[in-house]
Symmetry: C2
Subunit: 236 residues, 2 copies
């Protein structure tokens, strides 16, 4: 918490006096949230959602201004729900973009976020709910407005780093999954193939078997279903 009772009298733009109400007269920025909404495509790997902006003639990430009484995460949820119909997201904060002149119209700082959702959660987007949208690979996001390329870069790094050390931390799969399904998700996120047994060894101590067997229609031995190891599991 900063020091609202210590106004700096050497700065003429700051109101005088030690009255706590004086803080009301400080100039304040608009605080925005901008979100890299990611999902996986079987073909294209990790992709980012973008919206066409008629007013500036560019593609951009979905964003909104923070309102009084809400947290940044709530602003992200509201934005994605209202603009895109996407719900049940788990936003993560990345970084504050604070160039005072990043928007020529006003003093706007933006808190960049990332949210990863299952592909089916973006199904409604094709139906014109949200104006024109597109999905692009995080490695080639195309031409984006403002500092949004930096947000995509940070989002990509954040998600890939977390998937390197944890089994599907963003719940792209349900609570139970086969190791082959898990490997498919991790390969899509990383944009890289892993050896079958290598991946199994790496994940073995981070998941636990359920004893349940996959119901398969295909040929071959059916796989065991695993779940993420809970922190409260009994120690071995």
């Amino acid at each position: 918490m900063a020091d609202s009772s210590f106004p700096d009298h050497s700065d003429p733009t700051v109101p005088r006096g030690s009255d706590k109400k004086a803080s009301r007269n400080y100039p304040r920025p608009i605080v925005a949230v901008d979100t890299a909404l990611l999902t996986t495509c079987p073909k294209r790997g990790l992709v980012v959602m973008q919206m066409w902006r008629d007013d500036i003639g560019k593609w951009a990430l979905p964003g909104a201004f923070v309102r009084q009484g809400e947290t940044l995460a709530q602003a992200v949820e509201r934005c994605l729900r209202d603009k895109l119909g996407v719900q049940n997201i788990r936003p993560r904060q990345l970084h504050v973009l604070d160039d005072p002149h990043r928007d020529h119209r006003d003093w706007v700082i933006s808190v960049a976020h990332v949210a990863v959702v299952r592909p089916d959660q973006l199904e409604a987007l094709g139906c014109g709910v949200a104006g024109e949208t597109r999905l692009a690979s995080v490695d080639r996001p195309g031409d984006l407005a403002w500092d949004h390329p930096e947000i995509v870069r940070r989002a990509k790094t954040d998600v890939r780093e977390r998937y390197e050390t944890h089994p599907d931390p963003d719940r792209l799969l349900g609570p139970r999954f086969t190791l082959t399904e898990l490997r498919g998700v991790h390969e899509a996120v990383a944009g890289e193939q892993f050896g079958r047994d290598r991946f199994r060894r790496a994940m073995e101590d981070k998941v636990e078997g359920t004893g349940m067997i996959e119901e398969t229609g295909a040929r071959g031995r059916p796989a065991e279903l695993f779940r993420r190891k809970s922190l409260t599991s009994a120690a071995p």
Copy 2:
């Protein structure tokens, strides 16, 4: 950048109309920066600077409100310079603390930062420049105001993680140093002893020898001086 030309008409607290100037009428938070100012003590390892706050009767981290036209990093620099006389810092952004009710007096969000400085840069603090201050171990920071314990926790994690993989990234040492000096700094940051040869092997590919030899007054073979390996060095 958020969407200032898409005001949400379903919310009565938001002004109507697509006039870009309408964004001026949105309620805006005060944006603060609060900084965990860290240094190393030979005895106590990694310590954090705290200031006594008469108005709330608690110890707190130094903080300030962001002013129009300045970046968050500049606000941190101004705060530490004006309140503590500390200069030449390299602030790193950690996280935004955004509980709408974290300060009962007003809507204040805080961008937490961490800055690491050499011990001698805090020498002036004993001279009463800045009111009452204290240094406490980051592992036992004592009773701190507001959400400042969380800032210390994040700062500690951030610094220790970066020192695990890079040689003195925060420049607690000068441009040239012996491996024993480097190990001392890393042990102070980590709060843990490393084996002499183990540490040497781990750092060997991240520093480069200068050929220069330490000027020593003490007994024993003088050590070679090393420097951080620059990214533009010739590949082997």
